[in-house]
């Protein structure tokens, strides 16, 4: 197989719209990616020919909905190289991390330690701070290298025999830095700690072989991976899911309820109380299948070729500075930069007038901004459907901001 960007783009109708007289150069994929027709069709098919609740009903629509929902679980599992019953559908990536903090967190005791890093998204910081307030665990931080990668050389210094969990971004949502998972897992084993990866920025760039990574928990969001909003995924090793107590009570997650006591359903249902986001789950299954059908060697080359075009172009604009790995090594297609003398929001607003959508600000990573003493950055996040025209429009907009706003 190879990569045909035009063929990919044709699967995303929004890319061909003219909005307020401007084309769509969508480079804010790290916030929310666009959705291909295959996903829209899957959701529409469920909503128009199979809409019903799952698990409970005996009528044919309910059976059809249940089959579609469980097929989606299998699609996601295949994408991650794991078994379907190890996949828990959640409301999003944040919800998945909170689930682990609430449920796995109940297995921890005062004085146990969790290790995160200074570049984490707030969703991988705040749930642990809340757990610290609730149960007296301690929180440790991995520092960063000057180019915005997690400094794994510090692992021996910050790991302790009380460290129970290391929870890190697989790919930084700000710097694009790719974590050296092997090194983390090796270090975790020396103290018996579990490893969780926040895959929000990695999952949109192709299937993940969780078995090969050797980790214990993985989470990602549907809407960043070409799926619908309101759906996310938690994968955990089955023995961990078995040991974890429920974090939310209600229908579907029970074994037997009496007025005296309740027993729990096995995982994954134990963690899916109430009616789940059925349509979004079906859409996410379709998104995983859509991603799995791409040739990711060629797709990754395409994406990283665009990253190189961004890096080269920004270098030619006076006063730009990259926050993140300077080369294509150890990075994914997320590029953050600063333009000297121009606030990131003003860069982003100017880019909007060129039809270019990017994210600017702290990217829900304020500790990272504090670490580098930054107000924020302008972030370019690339998807397979982006092309040279998107990058050239970006560079034209940044040049314009540099010329007019300082």
């Amino acid at each position: 197989m190879s990569f045909d960007v035009a063929a990919v783009r044709h699967q995303f109708p929004i890319l061909f719209k003219i909005i307020d007289g401007r084309p769509v150069h969508y480079l804010d994929n790290g916030a929310s990616a666009q959705t291909p027709l295959a996903v829209l069709d899957a959701v529409r098919s469920y909503e128009t020919t199979g809409r019903a609740n799952v698990l409970r009903g005996v009528h044919r629509l309910a059976e059809r909905a249940t089959e579609l929902y469980e097929n989606a679980r299998a699609d996601v599992a295949r994408f991650l190289g794991v078994q379907p019953m190890e996949i828990v559908f959640t409301g999003g990536c944040t919800a998945a991390i909170n689930l682990v903090a609430s449920s796995y967190g109940q297995l921890l005791k005062r004085g146990d330690r969790i290790l995160i890093s200074e570049l984490e998204h707030h969703s991988n910081i705040v749930p642990w701070q809340l757990l610290r307030q609730r149960s007296g665990i301690e929180l440790d931080m991995l520092p960063l290298t000057p180019d915005g990668q997690i400094d794994l050389e510090a692992l021996p210094r910050v790991l302790t025999s009380e460290t129970r969990l290391i929870s890190l971004a697989h790919v930084s949502n700000v710097t694009g830095a790719l974590l050296d998972v092997r090194k983390v897992v090796e270090a975790a084993k020396t103290v018996g700690a579990k490893v969780m990866l926040d895959g929000a920025q990695r999952a949109p760039h192709g299937p993940v072989d969780l078995g090969a990574l050797g980790i214990d928990f993985y989470v990602f969001a549907g809407h960043k991976a070409y799926g619908p909003n309101g759906i996310g995924v938690l994968w955990a090793r089955p023995e961990l899911l078995d040991a974890m107590p429920p974090f939310m009570g209600g229908g579907s997650m029970i074994g037997r309820v009496t007025l005296a006591e309740t027993t729990w359903a096995p995982a994954p249902r134990r963690f899916e109380a109430g009616t789940p986001p059925i349509g979004p789950a079906i859409g996410l299954g379709a998104a995983c299948n859509w991603m799995a059908a791409l040739d990711w060697t060629a797709t990754h080359d395409h994406e990283m070729g665009l990253v190189q075009r961004v890096l080269d172009g920004l270098q030619k604009i006076d006063g730009t500075q990259i926050l993140g790995p300077a080369s294509l090594q150890n990075r994914y297609p997320v590029v953050s930069f600063m333009l000297d003398g121009v606030h990131p929001h003003d860069v982003a607003q100017t880019l909007d007038s060129f039809g270019v959508a990017v994210r600017a600000g702290h990217h829900c990573a304020q500790p990272l901004m504090d670490r580098f003493d930054l107000d924020g950055t302008t972030r370019v996040s690339i998807a397979p459907y982006n092309d040279n025209a998107d990058i050239d429009a970006l560079l034209a907009g940044v040049s314009h901001a540099a010329a007019t706003l300082r």
Partner: protein, 135 residues
């Protein structure tokens, strides 16, 4: 469109940096953050015996709109008390389309922000900080 947002008067206000800096001995100071975008404004004031502003200075870690608004506010804040600043805020709210009516100099410069709802808080953040400083 966004091009019109950065019209000459707004850019000139920001670049004027009127009141930018710190006061050596402020009577009161207050800091306000916008949790959504991370903009931060710190305002120092000295007050006279009647609670009117004698001196004002601001530090803005934020966008051009926030800088411009802080400069505009600093340019006309001296001599006003909390009530007078509240009146100015109404003028800024009118400029960005949140209140009916015509805005006056210098806040009428922010009229283009009316079309950009996500940026209106940038204009109003210095007022929030000054309100806290005067409370």
């Amino acid at each position: 469109m966004s091009d019109e947002l950065y019209q000459t008067r707004i850019v000139a206000l920001a670049k004027s940096k009127t009141g930018a800096g710190k006061l050596a001995a402020p009577t009161k100071s207050a800091r306000r953050d916008n949790p959504l975008c991370g903009d931060r404004v710190t305002i120092d004031v000295t007050l006279d015996d009647t609670g009117h502003i004698a001196e004002i200075a601001h530090q803005v870690r934020g966008c051009l709109l926030c800088q411009a608004s802080a400069a505009a506010l600093a340019s006309i804040a001296v001599g006003r008390d909390a009530g007078g600043i509240a009146e100015l805020r109404h003028d800024a709210e009118r400029a960005v389309g949140r209140e009916a009516g015509t805005a006056h100099e210098p806040f009428d410069a922010f009229a283009p922000v009316a079309a950009h709802k996500s940026r209106q808080e940038c204009v109003l953040l210095p007022f929030e900080a000054l309100k806290d400083a005067l409370s």
